[in-house]
Amino acid sequence: MNSRAYRRWAGALPLLAIAAASLAQDDSRDGEEPPALSVIPVQGNVYLIAGAGGNIAVQTGDDGVLVVDTGLPENAERVLAAIRTLSDRPIRFVVNTHVHPDHTGGNGTIGAAGTNEGFRDALRSEPVVPIYAHETVLHRLSGAIEDPIDLPVRSWPIDTYHVDKFDMYFNGESIQLRHQPNAHTDGDSIVWFRRSDVIATGDVYLTTSYPFIDVARGGSLQGIIDALNELLDLMIPDRNEEGGTLAISGHGAISDEYEVVNYRDMLTIIRDRIVALIDMGMTPEQVKAAQPTFDYDGRYGIDSTLWSTERFIETIYEEYAE
């Protein structure tokens, strides 16, 4: 990898590490076939494609195909093949939940494979597949906000929103992008398929580990907790706190309200414990020594060189000690 390419991806490395760890697979092993992607019907018109980086949600219907997040760039062709097992209709829209390359890396390839007559490339007048996202995703990719993530221009969002929500209607379904300020990053959207009763959460909700709080890109634990509370406002279970509205997590399993409420509870409890220790005058080292995440580490702990349970605690300390 040359130095320029290295710089492009340097900012994304923590996320790549998390994606790899959470999926317990390594697509880069020389000479080995990458693991097959999982294609799982979620509910209504919505499917999950897992194993390409971040989770990918696909909505299909007579109007065509809408794709939420596109995985790592090296997996884009396999994602396209997986989409083709679900529908032979044209890919019409791509939506990004946030800027990280394990969710945006396939934008160019997947966008180029589709078409949308309603949207034209400003330079060549060719129809293009519009990529929707919160405006900070475009700002970061275009350099308006300095950021080491550097995707080709064709991978950038061409239609963004800067308010709290953005409405669409496609395949007979109302779809709403809802901005979650300063959560996993500063540009998170959750994507709510209202008829299918499915929400693609991006990385504000994971089932694999503690959340990665990308402070350098405006993330915060409080923003993630707020986003989870908003998810809970939207999710309605079927009987016995099971089924009903389903959430496609950023990494890991499909969930209903119960899993989301447990994740919210855990993060709230950890926050309260760390704040209590800060109020007692403890230093970051003392807080870590007190093991405020001890009872959850066996389930959600993470220990890579770039993101770890220890760093998770330090990050929360820094946020609430201010």
Partner: protein, 283 residues
């Protein structure tokens, strides 16, 4: 695991009177509530972890758990998970789906009285769903016959509880059921192997008696806001701050250390430890 296997073998041996191989589970079954009294009715007291092979992580979660959780609407309609539901109230209706040609059983459906939860045991050789598929209270059950014991491997379970006073069981647990028929008594041995919260697998048995006259009623639940709470309110105690934790020890006379659970409490040798602790408490 060796000790667990011995327990299961012993349980099976006790039921080794003549029984038809691959018996028919279908029918209605009344629960025999002759064991685990502490799990019945009002349930266990806070801080009672006796006999549970839990680790320190489980202990901390249980110590900081608050029953106030049940005032939060999202937690009000949780039924018991598959490894706790059989403890009751759990009279059962069991039906079968048959292959229309061979009449082989494709699936058993076991509906428990408490909140009408239904476990489906697939007998058609299917595999568990992909890792990313949703978790459920009853999990995904795949059954196979081992002689005259129906062995059921359960995956995709939601996080649940080993005891309903906050002692957790993670969604990474491997749960195995052993169904054994002894004349008109149906026995279930459940083994829970949880790498997150257990030091050793938890083993429990329950029994039902055939009851042809049993009729199950509906058990609906709808969540209600009973107390105004701030958005995102999560009831819990900070570590060391639970004022209710020692009540069980003080009221029952069981030494505090013995209320804390641990794998050693599953074995007869622990009686000697308990005698010593009681003796120390008396001094």
């Amino acid at each position: 695991m060796k000790k667990v296997s011995i327990v299961i073998m012993a349980g099976a041996a006790l039921c080794a009177l003549p029984a038809p191989a691959q018996f028919n589970l279908a029918g209605s079954w009344a629960q025999r509530q002759h064991e685990d009294r502490g799990e019945r009715g009002g349930g266990p007291q806070i801080g009672d972890y006796t006999g549970l092979p839990i680790n320190d992580a489980a202990r901390l979660r249980a110590d900081t758990w608050s029953p106030d959780q049940w005032t939060v609407p999202e937690h009000q309609c949780e039924p018991h998970p598959i490894d706790y539901a059989p403890l009751g109230p759990a009279s059962m209706l069991i039906t079968a789906d048959h292959d229309p040609v061979s009449y082989d059983v494709i699936a058993w459906h076991l509906t428990f009285a408490w909140m009408n939860t239904t476990q489906t045991i697939w007998m058609d050789g299917r595999e568990h769903p992909p890792e990313q598929a949703p978790r459920t209270w009853m999990g995904h059950s795949v059954g196979r016959w081992k002689g005259d014991i129906l062995v059921v491997d359960i995956s995709h379970v939601k996080e649940g509880w080993i005891r309903r006073n906050g002692v957790p069981r993670s969604d990474l647990a491997k749960i195995t059921q052993y169904w054994i028929l002894h004349e008109d008594i149906l026995q279930l041995v459940t083994v829970v192997d949880d790498p997150v919260y257990l030091e050793e697998p938890s083993v429990r048995s329950v029994a039902w008696q055939a009851h042809t006259g049993y009729r199950m009623g509906p058990y609906p639940c709808s969540a209600r806001v009973e107390l105004d709470r701030p958005r995102g309110y999560v009831p819990h105690y900070l570590p060391g701050a639970n004022p209710l934790l020692r009540d069980f020890s003080e009221e029952s006379g069981i030494p505090w250390e013995a209320t804390r659970g641990g794998a050693e409490q599953m074995y007869p040798e622990y009686q000697e430890v308990l005698k010593r602790l009681l003796s120390e408490d008396a001094q």
